[in-house]
């Protein structure tokens, strides 16, 4: 079916040609789901784009062969290539919110695509569109088809996208991160649909993803890529279950398991050359401890309610407020890690912003170490909690001011809270703190854009520590990172937490990651607590229906794979 041999893709730049994909080979048979897995920069999406002939300019295929059935994909001209797209190869993109033309009805988009490739009356195309949508699990398709994309929910939209990719019966569908933007429940439905289409209609899928759990669940065969190169490929159970290559082994070791808690991830790069033979941040450690054993501080929330004003749509009716959090009460034990899990829209981030005083709760009380913690604007800029509660954010690319040097970013809490008055002393301490989080102290004179995502997250952790906090709130700190980098950061957070007696609130949508970190867990859904308890108990025997469902639907890999 699809055969790719020695594919090489290059992007010309002023520094010479950059090789994005090198010597890539793979084979996908009819009805086969082939997973293409790798970390960011591996060149997975470039392979997909090269096959369907939509490489971003100025990239070009410099070497190798690609054949679909009898057709040589490299020798056809651009008109033939365009006619082939949709007819024989189609594609599904990551974000269903932006993949559909907002100004056209679903029906028009479907019929247009069918008529572009097949000569049939409009009524026949319309009938096929209805049947297809029904097959995708959209009820009342002939009526729903009249709607515009914004009238569908995220999961439904991805079904429409799949219907669009499928409506001309292509042989191969390239799915680029098709479930990354979806919640687990919707993700499992979409994956089931893909599996069924492969089995029943014999459509081949090339499933590009960074999520090894997804691959383990539905891919028949898998290719592992790294930095544009093929690492290994073969049947999924063989490659992921019994990896031969060191890189695959490391990758598998870094994936957090859902079914157990492991003390530390085995990461080869840890304590790498950057810190070897130099300071390990002893001075910073001593400064943080202040010569004493740390006294941890706990946190309580009692009946917290948060509501946002709704969007006004009428002069007469008051807009209905959107309730983001309702009746949230739980205690965070001093010196422990509390995990907060939930899908998108569950109110996790709102909770973090409420704790840090960015959002004012409608009602309810919060305390920090026994004393009252006012919310929103009621918390003055000089309130002690401003120093005691620090936060690590989700997006390493926006959480550091790109116009300031690392030194200036790190020194901010030191002078703001009057912790260190002397400028030279501040600089020395910042440099040592960098060493403590596993960075080279020379980083102090560089700008954020000179670092990778994982390094920036370490800098963000250093900034939080330099306030001498008691409570550290981590809002999805690893969701923008690759698994191996994630494993390193989780190790670091664990080390720092136990060394300095920090109370940590760890927020994530990823159940497996939370399991690795948390002592206690709070499960949130639509702004309400579904379940709380010690994490081992919640993961072993979940009480709430919602928790049970969530755990069941999260893609996992067979436990004998490592």
């Amino acid at each position: 079916m699809l055969k790719v041999d020695h594919l090489t893709v290059k992007f010309p730049s002023r520094f010479g040609d950059v090789t994005a994909v090198e010597n890539m080979s793979m084979h996908i048979g009819p009805g086969e789901i082939h997973g293409l897995v790798g970390e960011s920069g591996a060149g997975k999406s470039t392979v997909g784009a090269a096959i369907i002939g939509l490489l971003q300019s100025p990239g070009f295929v410099s070497d190798g062969t690609m054949t679909l059935g009898e057709t040589d994909l490299r020798s056809i001209d651009r008109f033939e290539a365009h006619a082939l797209r949709g007819k024989r190869i189609s594609m599904i993109f990551q974000d269903p919110q932006t993949s559909l033309n907002p100004l056209m009805r679903i029906e028009d988009q479907l019929i247009e695509t069918i008529l572009a490739h097949e000569d049939m009356p409009t009524s026949a195309a319309q009938k096929r569109a209805v049947d297809l949508l029904e097959e995708m699990g959209i009820e009342g398709a002939s009526a729903r088809m009249q709607s515009y994309p914004h009238q569908f929910s995220g999961g439904m939209r991805q079904r429409v996208v799949i219907a669009l990719a499928l409506c001309t019966n292509p042989e191969l569908i390239i799915a680029d991160e098709p479930t990354t933007a979806l919640d687990v429940a919707v993700q499992s439905q979409v994956l089931e649909l893909i599996r069924r289409l492969a089995d029943v209609r014999k459509v081949s899928f090339m499933l590009i993803t960074h999520d090894i759990g997804v691959i383990a669940q539905i891919a028949d065969t898998v290719t592992v890529m790294r930095r544009g190169k093929l690492i290994e490929n073969g049947p999924t159970a063989r490659v992921l279950g019994h990896p031969e290559h060191d890189y695959t082994k490391q990758l598998m070791a870094a994936v957090p398991p859902l079914d157990r808690k492991i003390a530390r991830f085995q990461v080869p790069d840890e304590d790498g050359p950057a810190t070897a033979g130099k300071s390990k941040g002893d001075a910073a450690e001593a400064w943080l401890l202040g010569g004493k054993k740390p006294v941890p501080v706990g946190l309580t929330l009692d009946a917290i309610n948060v509501a946002f004003p709704g969007v006004r749509t009428s002069f007469w009716q008051k807009p209905k407020p959107f309730v983001a959090l309702s009746d949230i009460s739980f205690d965070v034990t001093a010196g422990s890690v509390t995990g907060i899990v939930g899908e998108s829209g569950s109110g996790k981030s709102t909770l973090a912003k409420t704790l840090t005083g960015l959002i004012k709760p409608e009602s309810g009380t919060m305390t920090l170490g026994g004393s009252d913690l006012p919310g929103g604007k009621a918390r003055s800029r000089h309130h002690p909690s401003r120093q005691l509660i620090q936060m690590v954010f989700q997006d390493p690319f926006s959480s550091l001011n790109s116009r300031h040097k690392i030194g200036a970013i790190l020194a901010e809490p030191l002078w703001l809270y009057g912790l260190v008055e002397d400028k030279e002393e501040r600089r020395a301490l910042c440099a040592d703190m960098l060493a403590l989080v596993g960075m080279a102290p020379e980083a102090i004179d560089k700008y954020p854009h000179q670092f990778s995502g994982g390094q920036r997250q370490r800098i963000a952790v250093a900034r939080a520590l330099l306030a001498r906090p008691k409570v550290l709130i981590c809002d999805e700190p690893t969701s923008a990172l690759d698994v191996s980098i994630q494993a390193q950061l989780l190790n670091l957070l664990k080390d720092l937490q136990s060394a300095f007696g920090l109370t940590v609130i760890f927020i994530s949508h990823n159940l497996s990651v939370v399991r690795q970190m948390a002592d206690d867990v709070v499960v949130l859904r639509h702004g309400r607590i579904q379940e709380t308890g010690p994490s081992e108990r919640v993961y072993q025997s979940p009480q709430a229906d919602y928790t049970q469902r969530l755990l069941a639907l999260t893609p996992t890999m067979p436990s004998d794979w490592r």
Partner: protein, 301 residues
Amino acid sequence: MWAFIKRHEGLWLFTRSPAVMIAAIVALAIMIGAVFAPWIAPVNPYDLASFSLMDGLLPPVWEEFGSERFLLGTDDQGRDMISSILYGARLSLIIGVSAMIIASVLGVGLGLAAGYFGGRFDAIVMRIADIQLALPAILTALLIDGIARGILPPEMQQDLRVAVLTLAIALSLWVNFARTARASTFVQMNKEYVQAAVMQGQHPLRIMFVHILPNILGPLLVIMTVDLASAILLEATLSFLGIGLPADSPSLGTLIRIGMQFLLSGEWWILWIPTLFLIALVVSINVLGDFLRDVFNPRLR
């Protein structure tokens, strides 16, 4: 040096584009000429004693009857064209640059604050901007000029011409800055580094000017260039309409208005040389602005 340029996105693009380099040289040359006009210009066109009617209407040096004393010829009063143009460009640039600076300080300040505080303050600023938008730049400038004529006593009007003109132009341009600054600030407000600063309890003024402002300078720089061009054009237009600067202290626009009288006669240089000069100045500023836009918006490259 070369390695540095190659690594620097903006400088690299600069060296790749001859049009932009020429524009930069032209703009720079005109600016230097304007700034040092009192030292460069052969005569002082404001000084009635320095020229004589005897030299009136001499063509440029390469034409028949041209004189080497007046390279680009003279006007009907016998003023040297080069000197008039240099002094005119000086005045145009003084007004344009000051108007642009006033507009940017006012606009960026309001836009930044509106974006940061949001809510009612934002609503008020934006409503004022709406009203300003309903009265386009040239109208605002004309109106302020008209008001000044009504309020100020006639003897002050001459002295305050430049100030009134500058203010009129500045007030008609601030909305651009305010809207751009506000929109960019909104984008930055959602960035986590701003939230981190708010959360830490930093002072709002520090967050606005130390954290946010450096991050929105790119688009503002583009607006500054484009608006400098607009300000120069606006001044020329007002002077052309006869309500800008008077004939005894001519800007480029006034020179063109005077030259209009010679549109039908043979003395083409009195009209077309200042016109070409004005166009060259504005085109090169706009080319630079366009270049900056491309540098700050890689998607459009």
